[in-house]
């Protein structure tokens, strides 16, 4: 622990040196650990031995969202995020995921992109009024005979999902959905979320199909053959629950 401490009457004062554990009380530079000589600066790193090194007794750890410095390869995506140019942010992130030609659409609430990732259909949209990013991946159609069991299973899956996405119901279909405020979705978080939604959607779609004999959405040979012909109708239509619009979940 390189704390600068007085050597207890050694005569070296309070410079940035620390005593070693041996009996000769050899002193060391508190920055690099090299033995301190009679010079004014450390012979190894050049730190002035008269300037005390201020270290806190305990470091209070804070957790912050990643910055552009942490991900130099995403510098332009970070620039778009900082400038609140969210369509460009999404475009940059899709490029990083090697999705060169996503199917871009103008939706009523903002721009949208549809593409296949990890064999799952993924729909990304920006809700401009709510400053929100949404990632939807349609999973399956409800099997009418096993309605309650499927709904129950979806809620139980939510209790066991490690990722930030959630299963939700839209009309007669189950979707995996991730939504967050644009200002919270840094470029690496968006990329990780897209990968996470796609890989979980593939697994969960298969799990539900096998368990409930239901129809999987957006997969199969017809869709593989038209990988970029994804229809937003696959996602169904969002039903706004009026009772919730006054802020229950908003």
């Amino acid at each position: 622990m390189p704390l600068a401490r007085d050597a207890g009457g050694s005569g070296l004062g309070c410079g940035p040196v620390s005593p070693s554990g041996d009996r000769n009380m050899q002193h060391h530079c508190s920055v690099c650990g090299y033995p301190a000589g009679d010079t004014a600066a450390c012979a190894a790193c050049g730190t002035s031995l008269s300037r005390a090194l201020q270290l806190p007794e305990a470091v209070a750890q804070t957790f912050r969202a990643p910055t552009a410095d942490d991900y130099p390869e995403l510098a332009s995506a970070f620039a778009a995020w900082r400038a609140r140019d969210y369509p460009r942010l999404v475009g940059q992130c899709l490029q990083s995921l090697h999705i060169p030609t996503p199917q871009a659409t103008a939706l009523p609430n903002g721009p949208g992109w549809a593409f296949q990732l990890d064999e799952a259909p993924v729909f990304v949209s920006i809700h401009q009024r709510r400053d929100e990013l949404r990632v939807d991946s349609p999973l399956v159609l409800l099997n009418r005979q096993l309605n309650v069991a499927m709904l129950r299973a979806a809620l139980e899956i939510n209790a066991n999902l490690a990722g930030a996405a959630a299963l939700c119901l839209r009309e007669d279909r189950l979707l995996l959905r991730y939504a967050d405020r644009m200002s919270f979705v840094s470029p690496p978080k968006l990329i990780a979320s897209l990968r996470d939604v796609a890989s979980r959607a593939r697994t969960l779609g298969e799990l539900l199909r096998v368990t409930f004999s239901c129809e999987v959405l957006g997969r199969g040979s017809a869709h593989k053959a038209h990988a970029y012909g994804l229809d937003w109708k696959l996602c169904g239509t969002t039903r706004s629950l009026r009772i919730l619009t006054d802020g229950l979940l908003g």
Binding site: N147, L151, L155, A166, A179, D180, T238
Partner: protein
């Protein structure tokens, strides 16, 4: 009060940053005896007696050689101290009971006998018992048939099932008297003793100033050593709790688990097994006896309305809201904001479910 009540009443659970175990009240001042293995070199820990919520406690003394520690609760626990037995004169075959929280199960008692009154390992004399001592028992009392403490359950040799070792009371009686009678320990620096020679350690160094032995800061905390991700996740959770204005050590309820008890709600924080995700959960309601299909439809449709990463989930009969925050992108300020919003949402959702779907308020500890 019967014997079993008497011996479990003054036994407490102890939570430290990287460990969990048991302890027992040993003095009128409320001083709790536990093991060094449980508290490590922490300064602040939490203790809880049976049926009581957690209380912050300060570590005042540790002895790595005896694997012993004393902690002083910030608020008096109001529990009578265990009477101390004469552990020098305990005959072989004496019936004993080990009390503690093995594997997280509260206030468990296992019976046995003193198999050997003096079993010496590395210069320390232990009481050897065949009472079961499992992880979580460490720090609990070994009591005789009169309910007197004979020692503190310390450890079990690897691979043994019926061989528990307890540090006898007489080995730490002097230290106990010294700290039990001290005037004010609330702000004292913990007195840590060397594992080899018992000299007070200065934690700014990693060696004993007298014998030069290395201080083993992480001994007994193998889970953290094995999984650096867990330590990172614990720090992230503590950072979040601090942002929420809660003292992390006070609301710790286990390894990688914390619980905030509000007037109307509970908030649970859990680190997932991989250490990569932090779950923040707020129970909203308990499902009613019928009408589940409509309730499920409503809940899953509501999930389509949410902004932010909060989601609605069901486990058993409990409907809850939860955040699953990947720790790779963890921002404690953002998650604190999301958590506060989710608490409001969960309260509101609970009211809606109770009013419209025959649900009931969520179970809380006092209902259990």
């Amino acid at each position: 009060m019967d014997y079993w009540d008497k011996i479990t009443r003054s036994t407490v659970a102890v939570w430290a940053r990287g460990g969990y175990g048991s302890g027992w009240v040993a003095a009128e001042s409320g001083l709790v005896v536990t093991t060094h293995r449980v508290v490590g070199y922490d300064t602040n820990v939490a203790v809880a007696a049976r049926g009581h919520t957690e209380t912050a406690a300060r570590v005042v003394y540790t002895d790595a050689k005896l694997d012993l520690a004393f902690v002083l609760p910030a608020q008096p626990l109001g529990l009578p101290p265990f009477p101390l037995a004469d552990s020098r004169r305990v005959p072989q075959g004496t019936a004993v009971a080990a009390v503690g929280h093995p594997l997280g199960v509260d206030h468990t008692v296992s019976r046995g006998i003193i198999a050997s009154p003096q079993h010496t390992i590395r210069g320390v004399d232990y009481l050897q018992t065949d009472a079961r001592v499992n992880p979580g028992n460490s720090g609990g009392p070994l009591v005789d048939g009169q309910g007197q403490a004979l020692g503190v359950n310390a450890w079990r040799p690897r691979g043994s099932n019926d061989l528990g070792l307890a540090v006898p009371v007489h080995a730490f009686l002097d230290a106990l008297r010294q700290f039990a009678g001290a005037a004010d320990l609330t702000s004292a620096t913990p007195d840590h003793r060397c594992a080899i020679c018992g000299t007070p350690l200065d934690l700014r160094s990693d060696r004993c100033p007298s014998c030069g032995a290395l201080a083993t800061y992480l001994e007994g905390r193998q889970r953290i050593l094995q999984m650096p991700a867990i330590a990172h996740a614990e720090s992230a959770a503590e950072s979040l709790l601090s942002r929420l204005g809660v003292k992390p050590h006070v609301c710790r309820v286990g390894e990688g688990q914390w619980k905030i008890t509000g007037q109307q709600y509970d908030v649970h924080l859990l680190v997932t097994a991989s250490g990569r995700t932090l779950l923040v959960q707020v129970p909203a309601a308990r499902l009613g006896p019928s009408d589940h299909e409509h309730a499920y439809r409503f809940l899953l449709t509501a999930n389509d309305e949410s902004t932010g990463t909060a989601r609605i989930a069901v486990e058993g009969e409990v409907v809850r809201m939860e955040l699953a925050e990947p720790l790779d992108f963890f921002d404690s300020e953002q998650v604190a904001e999301s958590t506060k919003r989710m608490i409001r949402q969960a309260l509101r959702l609970g009211q809606l479910l109770i009013r419209n779907f025959g649900a009931q308020p969520p179970p809380r500890d006092e209902d259990a």
